[in-house]
Structures are given as C-alpha cells and as structure tokens.
Symmetry: C2
Subunit: 479 residues, 2 copies
C-alpha cells in the first residue's frame, strides 16, 4: 500500500516556509497569491487549483535544496514545465498546501555535440527553441507538437513521454533521450547525463522517470538524440475509400518506401467540415468531397526524387485510393497540413466534446473506428464523431459531441461516463490503450483502474513507494 | 539493504523437490547430474557451476508453477536462454542448490502481424529463426549478432539488451520491443504483450526487465518491432588516416546519407594481422597496408543508387581518407565483412587476452583510443592492443595481450586488474560505460561498484528489493 495521501492529512506548514523558499531560490523567483494564479490553471482552463507558492529554481542545486526543504516539512511538490498538459498533471490540487516547482528558469543548453549527434539541455528549454538550435547546427530534433511546441518544455515532454507528429519515423520522447539528470524525492541528484548509445551496466533507471508525470522525481536536464536534417521532402494528400483502405495503404507505403515516411495522418469528413466552417483560407483538397483523407509525408537526408517514389507506391496500391495529389512544394503541402493542424482549434470553436486519445495496433484501427462508431450510434443516435490522428502510430483522437449546441451541453453533462465506457470497452477488446500520448494526470487517474491490469498497477504503486515513500511528488496524479 | 544472499545460508531443500519439478514440467523436461552439466557451463567455458536440476518448461503457466514451487522452497533460479552470454549471467553458481530454468522449449511464434509490423514470439525462439520468419514475410527483424545468432534466444537478447551490428540504424534490443510477458519472482504473470506504438498509462515497466539479466523476473514472450526489408545496399571499405579521421567521417556520412548507414565498424591493423594469420582466404583489402580500416554499409528500402551517394559522400570528405573502394556486390562486400567477423575467432586462436567492451560518446572514441593506448604502453611496454568494433555506437572492443605466448600467460595472470583499472579510468574520465553491450553478469558484478554512481546502484538495489524481496532471481549476478 502507498503512504496515506499527504493532502488528506492536516498540514502543519511552518509560517516561514515561503520565506525559506525565497532564501533558497531568491525572492523574485517565488510567487504567491494572485501572481501565482496563472501557474495554477492549465492552458485549456480545464484544471485549476491553489498553491502555497510557485518557485522557479535557476539550477539543479536549487531544485535539490527546494526539494529537501519540502521533504523536511512534508510539503508536496507539483513539478511544472510549460503547463500545456492535457490531463491536469502539472496543476496543483485544491487545498493550497502544495508548491508548484516550475522549471522554466532552467533553460540553458549545456552542451551541443554535433559529432555525437546529441545535445544536453535543461528541463526548462522550450521544445521550439531546442528544435531551432539543432537546426542552426545542421541537425534535427524530431519531436513535433504542432499546437504547443512554442510553449511546452523539454522536462514536460519527458515527463509525459510526448508523441506528436513524427513518431512513426523517430519514436516517442522516450526514444529520443540518452540520459537524464533527476532530483529524487529526498533531494539527492541522480546524475545520469550520459550521452552513450550503449550502456549495459544494470537496470535502465531513466525509463522510470520518463512518462511518470513528475510522480517519481524532477527531471532537471537531459541528453537528447539528434538526427541528420532531411534534404528532400514529398507530401501526398490521398482520398481513401475507408479506414480499411487507409490501414492497408500505410502498410504498403512502409514496405515500399521504408522509414522515409515521417507522417501518416488520417482525417475524417466531420473534421474537414469543422475546419472549413471556422478556419479562414481552408478549402477541400480535391474537387470532389471525400469521407476519409490521408496526409502522408516522405523525407530523406539524401536529395532523392521522393515524389516519384511516392507516386509509384500510390499507383501500385490498387482500388482503395479514390484519388491523390503529390507535391514537393512546401507551401502547397502546408495548405493540406493546415487542415490537419486546425482540427483542434475548429472543434474548440464549435463547442466542447468528449475527447479520447486512444491507441490500438495499427492493423486494427479500421476495426476500432467501425466498432466504436457502431456502439455509439446505437446508443446515442444523431451524435457526431470527429476522428483523426496519428494513424501511423495506431493513435486516434476520437471525439464525440452532439451537433446541436444546446443538446450537446446536456449530452456531455449526462453521458460522458457512458460514452467513455463504450469507447474504452472497444479499446480494451482490441488490446489498446486509453491514453496513447496525453498521459493520465488527474483526468484518467481513476478511469485507468478499470482498464489496466491490477498487477501492473500494483507494481507501479510499489515502485512509487520505493522511490517516494512519503508521497511528496505530485500526489493525486497518475496513481 | 538487500535480503541476505540465499546461497550463503544453509539450504533446506526437500528431498522430493526434483520430483515435484518433474510433476510440473514432465520428467523428460528435467535434467540432473551429468545430463545437466552442459547447461551449467557457458559457451566460452569461462564460467561453470552446478545445478540442483535444469528444467525446460513448455509454456508460461509451467514457468509460473516452477517459480512458485521454487519460491515456496526458497530455491533460487537461474533463467537461461541459449547460454551464449559473455559475462556468466546464465550459469548457476557453485553450490549446486539452484535450478536452471531454461526457456528453449518455449519457442513458438504466437502471432505475426505484417500490417502492424510486429511479431509476438516466445523467449526460447532463436534469433536466427525470428529473423528468418520475418524475412519470409517480407519484413526485417534487425538485431544482428554475427557470432551467436544461430544459438542465442530472444529471452536472452532481451535480458542482456543485446546490441551487435545494426544498432546505429535500429537501436539496441530495448528499442526493438513493444511489449513483454514476464513471470515475476512470486510466480504471478505480468501480461504486457501489447503491440502498441504509443501507450502513456503510467510507468513503463518493461524497461525494468530488459537488460536486468534475469534478476527481476523471467521474460517468457515479447512483441517485437519489425521493419521494411531493405532493397538496395552499398558497402565501402575505407582506409582512414587515424581514429580522429574515422570519427569525423562517421559524422560526415550521417549528415550526408542519414540513417541509411546501417553499420560503421572500425578495425585496427593488429586485428587484420591476426585475421590474416589464422583465417583462410582472407587478404588485405587494398594493395597497400593501412593502420585503420572502416567498413560501412548503406541500406535503403527504395531501390536507390546508394553506391553513387556513398561515393559522393566519401569524395567530399577531405584528406582523412587514404583510399576507399565501394561495392554493391554482396559477395565482394562479404570479403570485407569476413575480416570483421573473424576477429574474435582469430584472437581466440592466438591465445587469451584481457577483453573490454566499452563505450564512450562517439565524438570521443579517438580520444579514448589515444589515451588508453598511451596509458597502457607506458606501464606495459611491448603489449599488443586489438581494437575494433561498433564505432557508430561509440562501442569499442579493446583487448590487450602480450604477443609472446609464454609471456602473455603470466601477464594476464598478474596484470589483469591493473590493465582493467587503466582502461576503465579512461572510460570513466570520458563519461563512458565499462560494459557497452555484454552486461555485468558475474564478470563485472564487483567491478561496476567502482565505476558506477553509488546512488544509481542504491536505486537498483531498492528496485530489486521491491520486485524480488526474497532474492530468488539469479542471485550473484549484476548486483
């Protein structure tokens, strides 16, 4: 069993605790009251809490000292990066007895080794900045989060094992890191900033902290893997008959073009209609309307004629393709990408919806969509399903609402649990995941208990217990 | 602290323990006495021990029952695959009170999903067989261990996080797996056989068991990632001025040819001389003798003219290259690979040596070789250094001996520790690893304590304690 949740006990916080924080980090690096409020609500405004203080340490030593101070006073800690999380992991709970430990001031690039294809960065570096520094040095850092990369930070990317576009070719954040520096819940610093491709000297501890959403320690720096910059690109917009054809097409393209495929995104008609409704300067990619659109991109470090390869692969596919167009012109490709990148924004303007971020084996995506659609339409006639996402990774964003705004509000209030249950049941039957890339945070902390093997949850709790026996790190999240 | 080593206590093993094993697994699946002996010595004959019995379960349920029986009787377990380990992890200790749990009878391929690019295999499947099944289905399983792949098994590959050729492009074994089935030390079965590219629902437990050398549980099955089969290949043999030039060349090739580079191996003159001496039908790759040779291979799924790309990249490199030759003919390439693949065999025929399997950042390989060479030559004049390996991964096999056989025997007997210390000190100064791909096993169990951060070792012991509190799994190895 875990230690009792510290927040459920009466907190005896010394009156000079915030003063002590200021002594450690500097008074300008500690916010309280109203100035702290922006750090207590997530960027979508879905989760909101209260903090005793928000502290911005400027180096690893300060993080360690703050953690030691908190440990000595049994004050729990919410690690925070850019606060762009979608599941409420980076927001404090209600009681106002936690501190938010924000890593944004730790934003130095500690080392850049072009020959080793690595860079060592602090947790507070913004993803977009890391990508830019890499590119200026003729290297690629491939994590791409279209909506948030100007705001999100590497520490958060690591703590949530971020996905995004590009996973098909380069993997998740977990796959893009060689070493970590972590401040443990007792304030000791685990220095694992090795930039080695191979190291078989015992258990690989870094993987515990990646994706742990700050519940096991605070990631303060990382050695990131870099890649050669692609020199050639080709993008196709493909109208396919149905998701079955899309699944077969992906497999066909991988077999024929290999890991040059850096993206393979699927968009349903309902997404397109919303984008056309709300986003200026968007239009149908083809003269005819189609139910399912794929945007796929090939990239190569060698300056190869990828458009020819892509054309050949699409032509040889067979009758699952209704029509397609290919371009090597980036502006042209961007018109298609604009459709994909604005789906979330268009949905937001239309109103709220019940969102799911699920994954299944790639080979079963069509089956997932068909079964989930059928189950939902049967119980809730007239609903609208907005399905899109990183099909190349088996990851579908599958969102449900009623087209009528007034009806929708009541539908969501009354039926969210029922809808989740129908969708997640199909996910479970297909051996999938109810959180493919967004994590658990507060949002799915309870739900996961119904869908994950109790033995796995027990092992997670045991590991939490051994690393954070006093439950100081981000209580109320994940576990 | 760990529980006391069970082997150091008086063992009270019931007289009918082996009978009980036979009841669980079948009498033909339990060996004792002389018939057990071949499983108690590793393939190089370096480690030898004694077992109470060797048991060959035929399915996961039997593994679980055997583990429960052992747990009930405090009998410790040595998990074993093909027994090709180089560090003694898969061999029982001396006392004859352990069982060897050999997975070789669990060799079914449970599922093959070409569309998802995955296959689900049992731990006892041989690596070569897995590669062959994948290839017959037009897919690549990229782990390549030239010396042992006909004998080693997937469970062992996972438990040692195997490397080999191809890591530069495809990663280590850890990177090639999506899910694991594991029998825990209490006999419960962790069913994590998911074939998902994305799953962010808590701590990623599988990474604990990968590379743990059987000290945390028994891997019984895995979902492996597959890749498209390459259609085009080109191989170059390059004589470079020195290791500095080799490091720069690797970086230049990656930047220009990208991850088409599937191998980049370095061979020193001392390796070549040994190969020519002992291996028939081998000869200098060039008319002139050179001190350092690189063999590098490009591969692509698209049928591209890779020889032209490679030629262009090598020509544009500058004066670090003395001469080079390129071929797309596999037989021709194999003549070069024969030099690389026979280094271990040639060394073995020459006599014993002090072997090191180290890694440093790729950018510091030349520095490692220069500093280690200088340190050794200073203390031990006249020694021979045989350096070669997976330079693309920063992984050098660095072996030390005296050219004179009689002198060599005494040198190794008396100076092994001193040589190790000189080499490992340089490794530590370059923030490297003293075991890049072979693991710790028995061989480096003590040594690692001098070179790894005590905090990392403490966390490893804590994790061992929580997963295997009674110390039943492979005691005397790793920790």
């Amino acid at each position: 069993m875990l230690a009792p949740d510290p927040l459920s006990e009466r907190q005896m916080i010394p009156v000079d605790f915030v003063d002590s924080l200021s002594e450690l980090a500097g008074s300008t690096a500690v916010l309280v009251g109203e100035t702290a409020a922006p750090y207590c609500t997530d960027w979508r405004g879905r989760y909101s809490g209260n903090a005793l203080a928000v502290v911005f340490p400027s180096n690893t030593q300060q993080v360690a000292e703050v953690v030691k101070l908190c440990a000595a006073n049994q004050v729990t800690i919410v690690p925070q990066g850019g606060n762009t999380s979608l599941c409420g992991a980076s927001v404090p709970l209600q009681q106002g007895v936690q501190i938010v430990l924000n890593l944004s001031h730790m934003n130095r690039i500690r080392a850049f080794d072009a020959t080793n294809f690595t860079m060592t960065v602090e947790a507070g570096c913004k993803l977009a900045d890391v990508r830019e520094v890499a590119e200026k040095n003729n290297r690629l850092f491939p994590l791409g989060l279209t909506a948030t990369q100007k705001y999100c930070e590497i520490g958060g990317n690591l703590s949530t094992n971020a996905g995004g576009i590009g996973v098909l070719r380069y993997g998740n954040m977990r796959d893009l890191v060689l070493g970590l520096e972590v401040v443990l819940p007792d304030g000791r610093v685990l220095n694992g900033l090795r930039s080695l491709r191979k190291d078989n000297t015992g258990y690989d501890l870094k993987h515990l902290f990646i994706g742990a959403e700050g519940t096991l320690g605070i990631i303060t720096a990382a050695v990131l893997k870099l890649f050669p910059l692609p020199q050639a690109e080709a993008t196709a917009c493909v109208a396919v008959r149905d998701p079955d054809a899309a699944v077969a097409l992906l497999s066909h393209l991988r077999a024929n073009c290999g890991d040059k495929i850096s993206s393979f995104e699927i968009i349903s008609r309902s997404c397109l209609d919303l984008v056309f409704k709300y986003i200026p300067d968007t239009r149908e990619p083809f003269a005819s309307k189609h139910e399912w659109i794929i945007i796929t991109q090939l990239a190569d470090v060698l300056p190869a004629p990828l458009d020819l390869a892509l054309r050949e692969a699409l032509r040889s596919f067979g009758d699952g393709i209704i029509e397609f167009e290919i371009t090597t012109n980036q502006d042209h490709a961007e018109l298609w990408w604009k459709l994909r990148k604005n789906i979330s924004e268009a949905q937001k303007r239309e109103g709220i919806s019940i969102k799911h971020d699920v994954s299944v084996p790639v080979s079963r995506i069509a089956e997932f969509i068909a079964r989930a659609n059928a189950a939902l339409h049967k119980v809730f006639p007239g609903i609208r399903i907005v399905a899109f996402g990183h099909m190349g990774d088996g990851n579908i964003h599958y969102n449900v609402s009623m087209p009528d705004a007034a009806q929708n509000k009541m539908f969501i209030e009354q039926q969210e649990d029922a809808v989740n249950k129908l969708v997640y049941t199909v996910v479970r039957e297909l051996n999938g995941s109810i959180s493919a890339e967004h994590g658990l945070g507060q949002l799915k902390r309870d739900t996961i208990r119904d869908y994950k093997d109790p033995l796995e949850l027990e092992l997670m709790r045991n590991i939490k217990q051994v690393l954070d026996p006093r439950g100081l790190m981000n209580p109320g999240k994940v576990l």
